[in-house]
């Protein structure tokens, strides 16, 4: 078993143990919510993420024989910490009720358990997100490669037009990330920023006196950003995990590598960049 598998297994077990502890502590007589008793972990997680990024040495994508390193260990860690944190936050948050959605949990211990689970996910989510943010601050090119270009609409139309069977279209030379992914990234970025800013206000209310008007703004903003995040999350899971065409990339989120043949077809622009060539786009009669 490789080092990455060991670390992943340990981290997963720790997360499951945290969730189990969160659920269990909700039924302990006299125990407060984790948001009350362990608020400090919420403040610690972002700084821990930044510190971890500071001591992380990244590896750039590189062609290694018949495969391409797409994600280094840091990318895998920040993706799964952010992703799993988001998934658990969405499930627990929606179950607790928000906007017009009623609570699915009734009252008492199930509600407290969901809040405690939300807490554990908050810590993981904050660590992963700030780890990503700090890593990005250290290499702004990683941020730039996530942003849509002027090709966004044209590439997306051709890419998904071909998938839908419009044979006269030609496959665009997508770079490391599809242009459609880059547009979705903007939605994820904005919703993440709003969720974190408003969420931290809500957490602060557990520790200090926060003005009522601020919470009256933060709570609905948190809820609306949740809807945006849910939309992104569902689309991301569908296009990045369910569609068979994306399975090589899904696999690379565990192994780090994608096959070179796959990358040449799906990410021709990216491979051209890695090989130091000009990106050429053969446009069909579209």
């Amino acid at each position: 078993m490789g080092r990455r598998a060991v670390v992943g297994t340990v981290a997963s077990l720790a997360f499951v143990a945290g969730i189990a502890f969160a659920v269990r502590s909700a039924s302990v007589q006299g125990a407060g919510l984790l948001f009350d008793s362990a608020t400090w972990l919420v403040w610690l997680a972002p700084f821990a993420g930044v510190l971890a990024a500071g001591v992380t040495k990244r590896k750039d994508p590189v062609i290694e024989g018949e495969r391409v390193l797409r994600h280094d260990d840091a990318a895998i860690l920040e993706h799964w910490a952010h992703g799993i944190g988001t998934a658990v936050l969405l499930v627990s948050g929606i179950a607790l009720g928000f906007l017009f959605v009623p609570s699915l949990l009734g009252a008492g211990e199930p509600v407290w358990a969901a809040m405690n689970v939300h807490f554990v996910a908050v810590v993981v989510f904050l660590f992963g997100t700030f780890y990503y943010a700090a890593n990005t601050a250290l290499a702004l090119k990683r941020f730039a490669e996530h942003l849509p270009t002027r090709d966004a609409i044209d590439y997306t139309r051709r890419h998904y037009g071909l998938l839908l069977g419009f044979k006269k279209l030609t496959f665009p030379p997508e770079r490391k990330y599809f242009e459609s992914e880059k547009m979705a990234f903007i939605l994820a970025l904005v919703s993440t920023v709003v969720i974190i800013a408003t969420g931290l206000v809500k957490v602060a209310a557990h520790a200090i006196e926060v003005p009522g008007w601020l919470l009256a703004v933060a709570t609905p903003a948190h809820d609306i950003a949740t809807v945006a995040m849910l939309a992104f999350f569902l689309a991301h899971v569908f296009f990045a995990a369910i569609l068979p065409m994306s399975w090589p990339v899904l696999r690379s989120m565990f192994t780090g590598y994608v096959p070179l043949d796959y990358a040449r077809h799906e990410h021709a622009g990216w491979i051209a960049e890695l090989e130091g060539r000009e990106v050429t786009d053969v446009k069909g009669s579209n």
């Binding site: 407060g32 919510l33 948001f35 009350d36 400090w40 403040w43 610690l44 972002p46 700084f47 821990a48 993420g49 930044v50 510190l51 971890a52 990024a53 500071g54 001591v55 040495k57 990244r58 590896k59 750039d60 590189v62 607790l96 009720g97 009623p102 609570s103 009252a107 008492g108 509600v111 407290w112 809040m115 700090a134 601050a137 250290l138 290499a139 809500k202 209310a205 557990h206 006196e209 926060v210 009522g212 008007w213 919470l215 009256a216 709570t219």
Partner: protein
């Protein structure tokens, strides 16, 4: 291939601090501050003292007088939310169709406890004592819906309810915050349930009642009660005095 992320931060060129050193410093300082603060709070600061002012008003009831019409519940909902819904009432009238008088009916009003477990249980300060009147009330904007206050209330049914429509805890505020009533409420004003009760079975006092079931259950049966033929004492031994006959009309 290893990133060369040792780009010098322009603003910090004078210090020669690299971007990586800057990020690591921010992270390390933050971790140190949080853990240091935790240690200071845990070992060096004294325990927090929990003190809360007493309420300046209390509702008293006479269940033997209550007719169970639920006007108080409807009025409570109306003045607070602008709609009549017994599920939104903060005073509860519960009736047992199989019970016998006087155990067939219960009036469950908030007791504005001197030690309010609901306030103590609230994690965000949403449940608080009003600074002006001491009435225990909910700042709905701060409520996170954990319902610990509902659970913490030592009485059954809980004197704190979950507002299922607007999704927040609610409880009797002695009508301090009544946007749909053009009367001044609160400990120095009127209370809708007291004002509306056709049986005059609810009253208001500024004196802290004895902290017992009897402290909040009082005899509100006055002479008028006797005039309509009901006993005015709990044992029913005082013979009701009929109302004096009306004077003959002058011719």
């Amino acid at each position: 291939m290893v990133d060369k992320d040792n780009t010098v931060v322009p603003a910090a060129e004078a210090t020669g601090l690299s971007r990586r050193e800057f990020v690591t410093g921010i992270g390390g300082t933050g971790v140190g501050l949080v853990l240091g603060g935790l240690l200071v709070k845990g070992f060096m600061l004294p325990d927090e003292v929990y003190a809360i002012p007493a309420s300046e008003g209390y509702l008293l009831v006479d269940t033997k007088k209550c007719a169970g019409c639920e006007s108080c519940m409807l009025a409570c909902s109306l003045v607070h939310y602008g709609r009549e819904n017994t599920s939104l009432a903060r005073i509860q009238i519960t009736q047992d169709p199989f019970g016998t008088f006087p155990q067939d009916l219960q009036m469950d009003q908030c007791r504005q406890c001197p030690y309010p477990a609901c306030v103590d249980a609230c994690p965000t300060g949403a449940m608080h004592a009003d600074a002006a009147t001491g009435a225990r009330m909910v700042d709905e904007r701060k409520c996170i819906g954990c319902e610990r206050c509902v659970n913490a209330c030592p009485f059954t049914p809980s004197r704190v309810q979950w507002n299922h429509e607007d999704k927040h805890a609610q409880k009797c505020d002695l009508c301090k915050d009544t946007p749909y009533w053009n009367h001044e409420g609160g400990a120095d004003g009127m209370q809708a349930c007291v004002a509306i009760c056709p049986m005059k079975a609810i009253s208001f006092t500024k004196e802290i009642p004895a902290q017992s079931e009897q402290g909040y259950q009082v005899n509100l049966r006055d002479a008028h009660w006797g005039h309509i033929g009901f006993p005015t004492d709990d044992a029913g031994k005082i013979v009701p005095q009929p109302a004096p006959a009306p004077a003959p009309a002058a011719k």
